[in-house]
């Protein structure tokens, strides 16, 4: 075998703390190495051309590049060696940047380490085999999980791209958090007026199959061929018959049901259509409050329903769908404000969240758009907004910024003045974060035109005094303690991962961070992809986002899906396990442990043997670590390759 080793300086990134020339020089001593060079930027065009030239000039049949992490440029260099006529698996990388030059300044130790890492790459390469991908069919339907604005956008874009879309929404209506907003910043246009038409498009699009009140139960398969089980909860109403007339809501005697859509500001009826623009506009019975379902009598809705749509014995059902790609758009949920005991959230009725305040402002909300405080229904005259409740606070394990609270608080302060002209608003803030088009101008308007008083400092305590709330905080610009006597306090509750997000991530086999937000493949260059092929992210499930960013990411995810579906066949990753039939004793241990069901038992001349289903195998190698006699080997990570690396490092 003839091996070429290329050591990258990466400008001064590697060259600064590793003697790249010496690494190249020393690599000449490794077995089978016939050519070495050091290059300024191996990944640049001249760098890649140099590799191709060297392969041709020296008839190399394998290449090692010592540079950055293979998670970054392995695909780049694989294409390079392929252009030079080699199989792309006859290539190895030594990571001498992230794992060497960037983590220490001792040039001698770094150089020695870089030489050794290059050495083990050579040893592995010496045992590499050319591998070839298999083609398989692709199912060009896409599953979108979550019907908030990001999911709606992704679904519509995919459907407009002529692909069938399965949209799954947990609540009984799509619209997500945006549907609950009164107005949007910085344009102060009506949220439901701009979202409503999109929701209607979803309902009417022939390519979109919407499952509301449904959750993803189980996901099997792999890119191009996912099998999804969807659990549809029982609304106790036959939605094929329900016309959404709302007669049942008028007559329902159980009027103390939890009003989820209105963020529990007030209560609603047990049979309920969350809001007039709901999609689908269908009634749902809350079994916790329905008198018929809890006590066995009542049934008024069933009597009154003009289409006889009420079905009290309806059961939930499991629906199976086959898709080729998945967009996760599960959004966010709000931080639990009762964790700040000193603010009295959950204890004091007039301390509410920003989203609850949106419902009080909204004309379709429980107060018909008149701001009335929850405790006594009085119109508040002094309103205090508290920023960063559950954001940028390590003490509650939420060190991140939720991103959109500064803006919506400014919006709410403006709207408050519009609703109650003789009111005064105070905003306690840490910093104003308004980096968006027209955003900073908007917060300035709140201060300058609308007279909102911004106080830079944290609130330390909120306590009732008579029918007022005393808000005590620091004004760090004045260097004093301030107390504001408020009628209503609105806490800008931070965004956190949606309830159940980690569980969904596990079903999707994607990573999530410690707060439950889904991990993208690369924070800058692959922001909508995940590390699981065929699974994409849109909206706040990846991290708190405002509406424009969520919509943009929804469209971006759709573009990724459409690009995937542009191919008629997909190629598998050939780094899969293969069985050496002679050595297999048919004990079936590999079959038992394989997480993907990718190994089956077959009969070879009366003897049981294992066989890998090549398009199902994901290449984890669990089987290889399980097989006692090493009869099943993961290509490109065989026992012998790993042993060769160990031996190269540990020969005494």
């Amino acid at each position: 075998m003839k091996i070429g080793v290329f050591v990258c300086h990466c400008g001064s990134n590697i060259g600064g703390t590793v003697d790249a020339a010496r690494v190249a020089e020393a690599s000449r001593e490794f077995p089978d190495v016939v050519f070495t060079s050091d290059t300024m930027y191996a990944c640049s065009e001249p760098g890649q051309d140099g590799i191709i030239q060297a392969i041709k000039d020296n008839q190399l049949d394998g290449v090692v590049v010592s540079s950055c992490t293979p998670r970054m440029h392995e695909p780049t260099f694989r294409r390079t060696v392929e252009r030079a006529g080699l199989n792309r698996f006859m290539f190895e990388m030594a990571n001498i940047r992230e794992h060497v030059s960037w983590i220490g300044k001792d040039k001698e130790a770094n150089t020695n380490k870089a030489i050794e890492l290059t050495g083990i790459a050579v040893e592995k390469l010496r045992r590499d085999q050319p591998l070839f991908a298999k083609q398989f069919d692709i199912n060009k339907r896409v599953l979108v999980i979550g019907g908030g604005v990001a999911g709606i956008q992704a679904a519509l874009d995919c459907a407009d791209g002529d692909r069938e879309v399965v949209l799954v929404e947990r609540e009984s209506t799509i619209g997500g958090k945006m549907a609950k907003l009164d107005k949007t910043f910085p344009t102060v246009d009506c949220s439901s007026c701009i979202l409503g038409p999109k929701m209607v498009d979803v309902a009417q699009h022939p390519k979109i199959q919407l499952y509301a009140m449904a959750e993803v139960e189980e996901i099997g398969g792999y890119v191009g061929n996912y099998e999804v089980k969807i659990r549809r909860k029982a609304p106790y109403v036959n939605w094929d018959l329900c016309t959404g007339c709302g007669l049942c809501m008028e007559k329902c005697p159980s009027k103390k049901s939890t009003d989820r859509f209105n963020e529990q500001v007030g209560s609603t009826t047990a049979i309920n259509i969350p809001f007039p623009q709901a999609i689908p506009k269908k009634a749902v019975i809350d079994p916790k409050f329905c008198i018929k379902l809890t006590k066995g009598k009542c049934g008024i809705c069933a009597k009154i329903c003009p289409t006889k749509a009420i079905v009290f014995d309806q059961r939930e059902e499991i629906i199976s769908e086959s898709v080729g790609a998945i967009v996760a758009a599960t959004g966010y949920d709000l931080f639990d404000i009762s964790k700040y005991g000193e603010y009295g959230g959950g204890r004091l009725p007039d301390v509410i969240t920003g989203l609850q305040y949106e419902r009080l402002l909204s004309a379709s909300g429980p107060t018909g758009g008149h701001v009335k405080r929850p405790s006594d229904g009085k119109e508040p005259k002094t309103i205090v907004f508290v920023q960063c409740v559950g954001s940028r606070d390590k003490s509650v394990d939420r060190p991140y910024c939720s991103g959109f609270c500064c803006m919506y608080t400014a919006k709410q302060a403006i709207l408050t003045k519009d609703h109650i002209p003789d009111s005064s608003s105070y905003v306690f803030y840490m910093d104003i974060r308004s980096p968006g088009k027209m955003y900073d101008e908007f917060t300035r308007r709140a201060m300058e035109e609308y007279g909102t008083q911004y106080v830079r400092g944290r609130v330390s305590m909120i306590y009732p005094q008579g029918d007022k709330l005393m808000v005590r905080g620091a004004d760090t610009l004045m260097g004093t303690q301030v107390e504001v006597e408020a009628d209503l306090v609105v806490l800008a509750a931070g965004a956190e991962a949606a309830v159940g997000a980690p569980q969904l991530a596990e079903k999707l086999r994607i990573s999530y961070d410690k707060y439950g937000f889904f991990m993208e493949s690369h924070p800058k260059l692959r922001p909508v992809e995940t590390n699981t092929a065929g699974v994409y992210l849109a909206g706040s499930c990846q991290g708190p986002k405002d509406i424009p960013a969520s919509v943009a990411q929804g469209s971006a995810a759709a573009a990724k899906v459409l690009a995937l579906f542009a191919k008629d066949k997909l190629e598998n990753d050939p780094m899969i396990s293969l069985v050496d039939m002679k050595r297999c004793v048919g004990c079936g241990k590999c079959v038992r442990v394989c997480p993907f069901g990718a190994i089956k038992e077959i009969d070879v001349r009366g003897e049981p043997k294992a066989e890998v289903i090549e398009t199902v195998c994901q290449g984890c190698g669990l089987c290889t670590a399980t097989c006692p006699q090493g009869a099943i080997q993961l290509s490109h990570f065989t026992d012998n390759q790993i042993l060769a690396e160990v031996n190269a490092l540990c020969q005494l």
Binding site: G341, E342, G344, R347, Y463, P464, Q465
Partner: protein, 314 residues
Amino acid sequence: MSTYAYYPGCSGLGTSQEYESSTRAVCRALGVKLVDIPDWSCCGSTPAHTVDHLLSSALAARNLALAEDLDAAAVITPCPSCLTNLKVAVHRMSDREFRMQVNKLLDKPVDRSTPVKSVLQVLAEDVGPETVAEMLPHKPLAGLKVAPYYGCIMNRPPEVMQFDDHENPMAMDNLMAALGAEVLPFPLKVECCGASYGVARKDIVAKLSGKLLQAAEDLGAHAVVTACPLCQMNLDLRQGQASSAAGHKFQLPVFYYTQLIGLALGVPQSELGLSKLCVNPRLALDAMHAVQAEKREQEAKKEAAKQIHKAKAA
């Protein structure tokens, strides 16, 4: 019930004798067995830890070491300030290095970690308001409106104190409710009373304590209930100063919670020490009795009406 190693604290022998004697009496009545830590010494109070963490912890730890021989379920003290010193010492000594340094200073090293609790925690958790309520079916304090005031250090910092909600504690509320008293939702439960500024800056204490008294009065309280000798002193002894600062005469008796439990349980006056309070406790107790009398009268009327009704029907 287990035995507890009891640490009275210095103020228990001075300014808060009534807290000390009522605590012992209530514990006896509720079956909480106290064994005094032999030869106990000052915990370091407020000055020690401002000067030296090691010496301050050693002062507290000396008492913990002495308590080890008693084989008690916990070391308990009525005073929140002592409690803080003892707990902080335990907390700091969870660091091995620090523990070794402390032990070097002590004749008898600390080698076990006996839990440290307040008497309030023992009454609220180990005895429990349910038990107290069961002992008092006739609800002796019915009609008494109380504002429970915990002070700023009974529950804070939460990672050290590990007791109750640090922003909205309920232990004393629940015990008072068990006696039949009407517990008001006092919003300033954990506010500062001014603490030891009573000596250096009387004006601060007058202002802060005044605020507490005002809030209690606004709620219609007959009395404030405390669990801290210093809080009690600021609110009670300095009520006059607070009144002149506020330009409004407060007349709110300030009880130790153990005095009210003792009163309900029928502990003798000599141990309750109600006579040691500055603001006359009669003010509150009379109000309570008035409410109770009124209620009795109403019930009697109702009963009479019923009798008449029955007689007519007959």
